[in-house]
C-alpha cells in the first residue's frame, strides 16, 4: 500500500472541511477525486504533503506514519521529497528560466550534479514538447506551457506519488487538452497519481478509481465505468446530472 489515509479530520475555524476521510492508494494507481467546489478535495490533497495540518486521523506513506502533531517544517521537507505536487496556478519561479526552474529541486534537495539534473530536465522537456523553450522565462510562456513546465518540475524529483490540484482549472480550453495529454503520458510511465479535477471525461479515461466527495466526506469510491454510468449514491447521480447531463 503506497498511501493510506485514515479518518482524516480538518476544520478551518468553525468550518469542518474534512470529516473522517479514509482511503488507500496502491502503487501505480491513478485516483481522480471529484466533487463540488468546497467539498474538501483540495484540502485533502494539501494534507498529504503537509501544506495543511490535520486535526485528527493519520496518513501513512509506505506504511510509515507521516502526519505528526506539531510536526516541524524539517519533517515535512523530508516527506515532500517523495511527494510531488502541481498547483492550479503553476507557481513557477519567475526569476528563473524554465531549465533552472526544473533543476533547482534535484540539485538542491537531492544534491545531484548540475550536468545530471540538466540531462534529466531536457529529457522531461522533450517529452512535453517544450525543449525549445528551455531558456525562456515563465512570463514568456502561455498558461498551458507553464503548467507543462510545472509538471516537469514535479517529475524531476522522481517522486513516488504526484498530486495534481485542479491543474487545468485556470487554463483556456485549448490549453487544457495539451496539459491533460501530458498527464496521460505520466500515467503511462506507471507513476502513482492523485488528480483533483473538474474534467469528467478526462477522469473517466485516465483514472483507475474515482473518489467522490461532498461536504468533507467520501460518499462513493468506484471504478470510472461504474461511477459515470451507474453511480451507487444519490448524491453522485445528482452531481453528474449537474455536470451537463453527462450521464446518459
Amino acid at each position: 500500500m503506497l498511501l493510506r489515509v485514515k479518518n482524516l479530520k480538518k476544520s478551518f475555524k468553525e468550518n469542518v472541511v474534512l470529516d473522517g476521510v479514509s482511503y488507500d492508494v496502491e502503487k501505480g494507481e491513478v485516483i481522480a477525486i471529484l466533487g463540488r467546489s468546497g467539498c474538501g478535495k483540495s484540502t485533502l490533497l494539501r494534507c498529504i504533503n503537509g501544506l495543511e495540518q490535520i486535526e485528527g486521523g493519520e496518513i501513512y506513506l509506505n506504511e510509515t506514519l507521516i502526519t505528526k502533531p506539531n510536526a516541524k517544517y524539517k519533517h515535512w521537507s523530508e516527506v515532500r521529497k517523495k511527494i510531488g505536487m502541481v498547483f492550479q496556478s503553476y507557481d513557477l519561479f519567475p526569476h528563473m528560466n524554465v531549465l533552472n526552474n526544473i533543476i533547482l529541486g534535484p540539485m538542491k534537495v537531492e544534491k545531484r550534479s548540475k550536468a545530471d539534473a540538466t540531462k534529466e530536465a531536457l529529457k522531461l522537456l522533450e517529452r512535453v514538447s517544450l525543449l525549445e523553450k528551455k531558456l525562456a522565462y515563465p512570463r514568456e510562456l502561455s498558461g498551458g506551457q507553464k503548467q507543462r513546465v510545472a509538471i516537469c518540475r514535479a517529475l524531476s524529483m522522481n517522486p513516488e506519488i504526484i498530486l495534481f490540484d485542479e491543474v487545468t482549472a485556470a487554463l483556456d480550453p485549448e490549453m487544457v487538452r495539451e496539459v491533460l495529454d501530458v498527464i496521460k503520458g505520466v500515467k503511462e510511465q506507471g507513476l502513482t497519481m492523485i488528480v483533483v479535477t473538474h474534467e469528467m471525461a478526462f477522469a473517466e479515461k485516465v483514472a483507475d478509481k474515482i473518489i467522490f466527495m461532498e461536504n468533507g466526506k467520501i460518499l462513493e469510491i468506484n471504478t470510472p465505468d461504474k461511477f459515470f454510468h451507474s453511480p451507487s449514491t444519490v448524491e453522485a447521480r445528482r452531481f453528474l446530472n449537474l455536470s451537463d447531463g453527462y450521464v446518459q
Partner: protein, 226 residues
C-alpha cells in the same frame, strides 16, 4: 566685476574634494552595512515571535521618527559619558547611519517578503526545499530584484543627510566649505564666494545623486517587467 572667489575655490579644490570624500565614504560604508544587516533584520521581522516583532518595531520607529542628527549627538556624547572615552566622530557617524539604514531596509525587506504570493512559499515547500534554501534560491532573489530601486533611493537620501555629521566635528564637505568661506571673508569681506561655493556644492551633489536617480528609474522599469 564683484569677486566671485572662483580662484579661491580652485585653490581649495583638493580640500573640498577631501571633505566630499569623507561624506561619500561614510555613506558608502553605512549603506553596505545597512544592506547586509537590513536583510537579516528584515527576515527576522517576518517571524511569528511576538516579542521579537515588538522590540524590532520599536527600534525601527525610533530610528525613523527621530532625526539622525539627534542620534548623532546622543551617541557621540552618550558613549563618551558612559564609557569615559574619547569617541571617534567618524565611527559614531557610521554607526548612526548604519542603524538608520538597517531599519529602513529591514522594514522594506519585511514588507516585500510579506507581499510575495503565498504560492511561492508553497511551491518551494512542495519541492522539498528547506526553509533556508527557499529563502536563498526563491524568495530573496525576487525581493532583491524588487527592492533595488528603493535601496538606490535610500542611498541618495543617505548621501544628502550625511552632511549633518559636521555637527559632531567631522570635516566633511559642508564644514570644509564654511571654513574656506570664513578664511576668504577675513581678507575679502566683499567676496561673493558664499554663493559660488554653495553653487559648487550643489553641482557636486548633483553629479553624484542624479546618476543614482536615473539608475533607480532604470531599475524600476526593469523590475516592472518581472
Amino acid at each position: 566685476m564683484r569677486n566671485l572667489g572662483i580662484d579661491y575655490i580652485i585653490k581649495a579644490f583638493p580640500m573640498i574634494i577631501d571633505g566630499f570624500a569623507i561624506t561619500i565614504k561614510i555613506s558608502i560604508i553605512a549603506l553596505i552595512l545597512s544592506i547586509f544587516l537590513g536583510f537579516i533584520i528584515g527576515v527576522i521581522m517576518t517571524s511569528k515571535n511576538k516579542l521579537i516583532n515588538v522590540v524590532l518595531k520599536i527600534l525601527l520607529e525610533a530610528f525613523r521618527l527621530i532625526h539622525p542628527l539627534i542620534w548623532l549627538f546622543v551617541f557621540f556624547f552618550g558613549v563618551s559619558y558612559i564609557f569615559n572615552i574619547q569617541t571617534d566622530n567618524i565611527v559614531v557617524s557610521i554607526v548612526v547611519f548604519t542603524l538608520w539604514g538597517t531599519f529602513e531596509i529591514g522594514d522594506l525587506v519585511r514588507s516585500y517578503i510579506q507581499s510575495l504570493p503565498k504560492s511561492q512559499f508553497e511551491s518551494s515547500a512542495a519541492l522539498g526545499l528547506t526553509k533556508t534554501q527557499m529563502y536563498i534560491y526563491v524568495l530573496l532573489p525576487q525581493i532583491i530584484i524588487r527592492i533595488t530601486p528603493s535601496i538606490v533611493n535610500l542611498a541618495t537620501r543617505l548621501i544628502k543627510t550625511t552632511t549633518l555629521v559636521f555637527l559632531i566635528g567631522v570635516p566633511e564637505v559642508l564644514k570644509v566649505s564654511q571654513n574656506i568661506i570664513q578664511v576668504v571673508y577675513n581678507s575679502n569681506p566683499n567676496s561673493y564666494i558664499t554663493l559660488t561655493m554653495y553653487l559648487f556644492l550643489l553641482f557636486l551633489y548633483f553629479i553624484i545623486c542624479y546618476p543614482l536617480s536615473l539608475f533607480s528609474k532604470y531599475l524600476e522599469k526593469k523590475v516592472s517587467a518581472l
